[in-house]
């Protein structure tokens, strides 16, 4: 492996991590940023089209149209719709697998750890059944039926899941989604060669994808997982590289499909499995959390304390977690699994196992998940991991960072656990907002990227600016990974908040940044917002609530963003999606959207400026609501 100039490594908000990376003798994403620094502006602005053999066509003042006649608006919105479709497809894939697991678990009368969640969902869906298994199977069937509808048939649960005023607006705009899978299909077809050339129609399709992504891919995935795996419970947990205990056989999990490792999670706690580890000199097995499935496990960590020590870090921390040498296997169920982990795994003899062919890595063994074979495949995985452990541990040097992160991160927050914490009512929070002790809410979500200021830099800095302005921050996604490792999700972070927010945090013993876990939990944030709006009798765009994906990375984040816009929320992004080459796209996303859904996009890469912009919006909304 190439050793790199330490100083050229991309920086991180997480300074101990940054230092660790700068001393690594192996290449990571952080080291590749510099050589990719000069970006093609045609790509950045979305005005490069590769949809046909006449291309790539690029828009310049001298060549304002592609060979086919497509202008910048057509190129940009086509590219954008393709990206949002792909992002939606990712989430729909996740919910499809999740709901199938629920159905199969119900049919097999397997363990259902979250019966309250089941009950709530039955109420929402108006579903009954003889026993919990029948109810669960019926819930699953209802979801599956919607997912598989054609695009011309509207999904039925949308109406039960969506907030009434929103639903009405969506109906008016004609953006209620048909079958979620079919919407991905149509989005892909629509944006293919020489089909749709109506920029506005394509942007509206993005909103439709946003709705199906948000309500099904995000919201439902959480609840379906809660039924199977248990509901989040608020607790204090360790985070960062410190969670890696080299005395155990360590499996790093990465992905988005928590229910796929349900059997494995339970097995790891079994005596015979622990004996298997002890036989090769380890104390047992541990799961080390990484990316969103790690966040999911952390959220539900109260149910898995004996096999899970904590969450290591977010997407761009995955290479670093592996580089410690103390991980024996990587278990991948989905993204975000960087191709860059492969040479590191090869180098450190880390076994790579993929349990969903959709995220098959080149050097990984594919142990494709199937519910029926779950017991056998779990045993197979355990055996492989033991083999890897035995082969590598004496031969691979450890490079641990035991002081990294903290032991004080508040986790397990969900729409249910938070409400319970507040006394089974949102009233205390509403009163704090109404009274101005909390100026408003900011949902800081999405990924981390390595552009602009570096890993988690804008996320962390902007969040600090927001809480300093007495804005309570709720986070879901890899943003949480960065925020928690930087200590902002620890109660001690109250010190960084504005005087009013600080006082509340100290009174309640909570941090000013609340950790909802994975990006899927953007769906939980929607539920929190909706319940607050309903309690106030207002629509979502009226709430003093802003949405920000400061360091969005991938197509899934764009689908999340489309959901936010459909909800009518102001959506802040640190860097623009590749749309700035189209005047129409910019106009629709940043301005016209306000009259469509009530939402709009704002772009700013500076932490303080972004916080000021978001605070202004919150203040305007407060004023409109008649709050001081």
């Amino acid at each position: 492996m190439t050793e790199r100039f330490s100083c050229t490594a991309c920086c991180s908000a997480d300074k101990p991590l940054e230092k660790f990376i700068s001393n690594l003798s192996m290449e990571t994403s952080f080291h590749r940023v510099e050589s990719q620094e000069v970006k093609c502006e045609f790509g950045l602005e979305g005005v490069c089209c590769r949809l046909c053999a006449n291309g790539p066509c690029r828009i310049t003042p001298d060549s304002p149209l592609g060979v086919c006649g497509a202008n910048a608006d057509v190129m940009v919105t086509r590219n954008f719709l393709r990206a949002v479709s792909a992002g939606s497809g990712c989430y729909i894939h996740i919910v499809e697998n999740t709901v199938r697991n629920l159905k199969n678990t119900a049919l097999a009368k397997g363990t259902l750890k979250g019966l309250n969640a089941l009950e709530r969902l039955c109420n929402v869906f108006d579903i009954s059944g003889g026993d919990v298994y029948e109810k669960a199977a019926n819930v699953a069937d209802a979801v599956l039926a919607d997912l598989y509808k054609p695009d011309f048939e509207k999904m039925e649960l949308t109406k039960k899941l969506a907030y009434e005023p929103r639903l009405k607006r969506w109906e008016e705009l004609g953006i209620l989604p048909g079958g979620a899978k079919s919407e991905v299909f149509s989005g892909t077809v629509k944006s293919s060669t020489n089909l749709n050339s109506d920029p506005v129609d394509m942007l509206l399709h993005c909103l439709r994808l946003g709705i199906s992504t948000g309500l099904y891919g995000l919201l439902l995935t959480n609840l379906l997982n809660d039924i199977m795996l248990g509901e989040p419970e608020i607790r204090i947990a360790p985070v960062g590289l410190r969670v890696i205990d080299p005395d155990y056989i360590n499996i790093m999990i990465t992905g988005h499909q928590h229910s796929m490792i349900a059997t494995l999670q339970d097995r790891l706690a079994d005596d015979d499995v622990i004996q298997k580890a002890k036989a090769v000199g380890a104390k047992g097995f541990k799961l080390v959390g990484c990316t969103c499935v790690g966040q999911d496990l952390q959220l539900r960590g109260a149910h898995y304390t004996n096999v899970f020590d904590g969450h290591g870090g977010n997407n761009f921390t995955s290479e670093i977690i592996l580089a410690t040498g103390a991980i024996d296997a990587v278990l991948t169920d989905f993204n975000c699994t960087l191709p860059g982990i492969e040479p590191i795994c090869d180098n450190l003899k880390i076994k790579q196992i993929c349990i969903d062919s959709i995220s098959k890595k080149a050097n990984a063994e594919l142990v494709d998940f199937s519910f029926d074979a779950r017991t056998a495949t779990t045993e197979c995985i355990l055996d492989e991991v033991v083999v890897a452990y035995t082969a590598r541990r004496d031969n691979v040097p450890l490079n641990l960072l035991p002081d990294h992160g903290n032991d004080t991160t508040l986790t397990g927050i969900s729409e249910v656990s938070l409400k319970a914490f507040l006394g089974d009512t949102w009233q205390p929070l509403i009163e704090l907002i109404a009274g101005g002790q909390i100026k408003g809410l900011a949902a800081v979500v999405g990924c981390s990227n390595l552009t602009g200021g570096g890993h988690d830099v804008l996320t962390v800095e902007m969040t600090k600016e927001l809480i300093a302005r007495d804005i309570l921050v709720l986070s879901a996604g890899c943003s949480s990974g960065g925020l928690e490792n930087c200590g902002l999700m620890s109660p001690e972070a109250a010190e960084l908040a504005g005087p009013k927010l600080k006082a509340i945090c100290q009174q309640l013993g909570i941090p000013p940044v609340l950790n909802f876990g994975p990006c899927l939990a953007i769906g939980r944030l929607e539920m929190v917002a909706t319940e607050i709006a309903a309690a106030l009798g207002v629509d979502l765009p009226q709430l003093p609530l802003v949405l920000s994906a400061p360091q969005w990375l991938e197509e899934q984040a764009l689908a999340d963003g489309a959901f936010g816009l459909a909800l009518g929320l102001p959506l802040h992004l640190g860097v623009p999606p590749f749309v700035t080459g189209s005047p129409i796209a910019v106009q629709v996303l940043c301005e016209d959207m306000k009259s469509l859904t009530g939402g709009h996009v704002l772009i700013n890469g500076d932490a303080t400026e972004s916080a000021v912009l978001l605070e202004d919006i919150i203040l305007q909304k407060r004023e409109a609501l008649g709050l001081a």
Binding site: E37, C40, R58
Partner: protein, 146 residues
């Protein structure tokens, strides 16, 4: 003389110029590949502190510091065309030219450090320089100058 004129404001950093240069100077019989380190571009796109693109192309300077620093005569200004041409066969590989190019255009070859990667204005094939021919933004063009 003919010089490649740069309109930096028009550059979009698509790197077509760099790819064209690599192709134009491909070693004979080697299949072109963007991931093969033996293909090197004579030009590159830099960025200033504000991330503005600043294309870096050999100017074939009126007073070429590279040729002045050359101890072997391998770099010399062609009296007819005005272009500063490089003869690798007589080069001493001392890289005094690399140090003395005031703009940091020159470099030793990546794999062997045995020759200088230097713009030849694509003079051999007699055509317009390939970088210019492949710029979609007209950020570079050839002009007759003093």
């Amino acid at each position: 003389m003919r010089r490649i004129i740069i309109d930096a404001d028009k550059c979009k950093a698509c790197k077509n110029c760099s790819v064209a240069c690599m192709r134009a100077h491909a070693p004979e019989g080697v299949t072109f590949s963007l991931s093969d380190p033996q293909f090197e571009s004579r030009n590159t796109i830099l960025q200033d502190g504000e991330k503005q693109y600043k294309p870096l192309f050999c100017r074939h300077c009126a007073k070429p510091s590279c040729a002045n620093a050359c101890v072997s005569g391998a770099l010399a200004k062609d009296p007819n065309t005005g272009h500063v041409l490089y003869n690798p066969d007589i080069c001493a590989k001392c890289f005094m030219c690399v140090m003395n190019c005031p703009f940091g255009v020159l470099k030793p070859d990546r794999l062997t450090n045995t020759y200088v990667v230097k713009c030849d204005f694509c003079a051999a094939d007699g055509s317009e320089p390939n970088c210019v021919a492949n710029c979609p933004s007209k950020a570079i063009y050839v002009k007759e100058v003093e």
